[in-house]
Symmetry: D2
């Protein structure tokens, strides 16, 4: 099963139905996921050398509700009324902690656009829960990463290690291929 | 009031609730528009010279339900189960006719991303009906354009004319600025 | 040894020293190649389906002066006074013939930038002859390709075949990696 | 007359003919400038808010040898053997000082490509000295800027002020239009 940030409890920033129209109950989320594409952001955290070349890639290691370990990118839904930048920052902070100091992208144009479908074969990417249109960014981080969610670890590796077949195979739903494409667009 | 392709009757391609989960009734559309961002595509049709330089920009002139004439880009919703390319092609065909022969983009990464909010001030773009995340493409067309919808005309003009303040002012919701940004990214 | 379009005789478009300051004698070319970076364009010709997805990739097969067969991309120098678009079109026509009908890119911003150095290790790309800064484009072609130069063949293959390790190994100087990166940026 | 960093004395990093083949004497520079396109980088320094939006644009104010004040971007030649990133960093440091702490771009693909020709009318950009192909980057800076060259000042202004017609008119050779295009690609 797939999993992303939006499925895990949001530590201290949980909106309630009363004060945020973008909050969706379980039933509402199930309804909309079967009726229209959901806007997502995804992020690949990287560390750079002084000239801007990627030296390390941060991959999330997380446990699904069934206890299976799986690699993932930072990913989550964009809420009603929230800008892409706000959603990107919120999910970066949720998954990497408040001391990661991400360098937010100057342009909202993403490096890649990934289209996830619940049915396989429509595109290279599958998400059993929904049709999602995901804007994918590479985000340099300069601070220390400390995931705020128990299910989560960040492991840093060289681009070569991150792109090894064994590592890419630990991603689900085609996200290994997405990581490969995204890093390739940046010269890796 | 804003208007886009999705609001006009779809000439011969209208899905029904029974065979397409992506079709939304008026009530359902109203519900989702107030609860989550809607995925849109927008397109700027252009004509190119033999070296690929933009010689003409195609702007739609359409009449709102109130009878007000307004300029617009090609725009419309991406349906559940539909790829971005399919949505882009469908809206191009609806607005330009079947003989426009658009050159579809090789990459799904858009030229610009426009975020529309129902409330002004969140971003540069306003859509009273919804929060929309719109992927904007520049699409060369090589055939003849013949809008299939009565309310619609295509006028072709030079990039200089399209970018004149008077022309940009005929767009609503910040779409004049979006046109300017999109053409600027292509050297106009 | 590497080879590119600029090294092969230019069939019918050869400028002479008298009428084109951008023409360089052998001696002059050798001098400038050791003193400053040379501007190059490279192109990956592709065929698209009706929605713009890459169905085939065109790879050049050419024979070096030593008679070794090697794969290559379309590549060549930008001359003094020539725009990038003119250089791109000229090299496309030289290598694919006058009936290829390339769809020239709307934007001069390339998909990738490759930096070739005569000394290995500076970047991923090596060209023994020179330091070249190469702007790389993916160019859809709609006509028939018929190389005008004897040493040359175009073979069309699926993206999967083009990206197979065996195929990529037939490129020199890191150009296999460049092809991989360029196609990855377009979702392959 | 145009002017850029490469024309001003390089404070403490001046290579000599003996140890750097990329160094060109005045005569050699004049020769190559008339015979082939020269690779340039240009940079627009910006300051960002915490979400990555541009809040300020840094424009250089410099005095030509004739004592005329003119606005310019950071610009300079890429030397033989130097990577684009090294050239970008070197020119940023020369023009903004060692404490600017630029955030180097993750990708070498530029925001814009500007083609300068000595003769007007070939493109929108003119440089009397040469045919230059310039890769243009937007570079966030986080430190304090202190130009190391006497002729130079950095003034910071809002995107609106930077894009005002009066400001753009203070640039030469079409660089005002280039600034406009580059900022537009980033949503300004």
């Amino acid at each position: 099963m797939s999993i992303d940030t939006a499925d895990l409890p949001d530590p201290d920033d949980r909106p309630t139905p009363n004060d945020n129209p973008g909050w969706l109950s379980e039933d509402e989320l199930r309804f909309v996921r079967g009726r229209l594409p959901i806007v997502y952001i995804e992020a690949v955290p990287v560390r750079l050398d002084s000239l801007g070349r990627i030296t390390e890639v941060g991959l999330l290691l997380r446990s699904t509700p069934e206890g299976v370990m799986t690699r993932s990118l930072i990913a989550g839904r964009v809420r009603f009324g929230e800008t892409l930048r706000e959603a990107l920052f919120r999910h970066l902070e949720n998954d990497l902690g408040p001391m990661a100091f991400p360098q937010m992208p100057v342009s909202p144009v993403p490096t890649q656009v990934a289209e996830y479908f619940p049915m396989p074969g429509v595109s290279a990417f599958v998400d059993e829960r929904q049709h999602a249109v995901s804007l994918v960014y590479v985000v340099p981080v300069t601070g220390s990463c400390d995931p705020r969610q128990d299910a989560l670890e960040v492991s840093w590796m060289s681009p070569e290690e991150a792109l090894a077949v064994d590592t890419l195979d630990e991603f689900h739903g085609g996200r290994g291929q997405l990581l490969r494409q995204t890093l390739a667009a940046h010269g890796c």
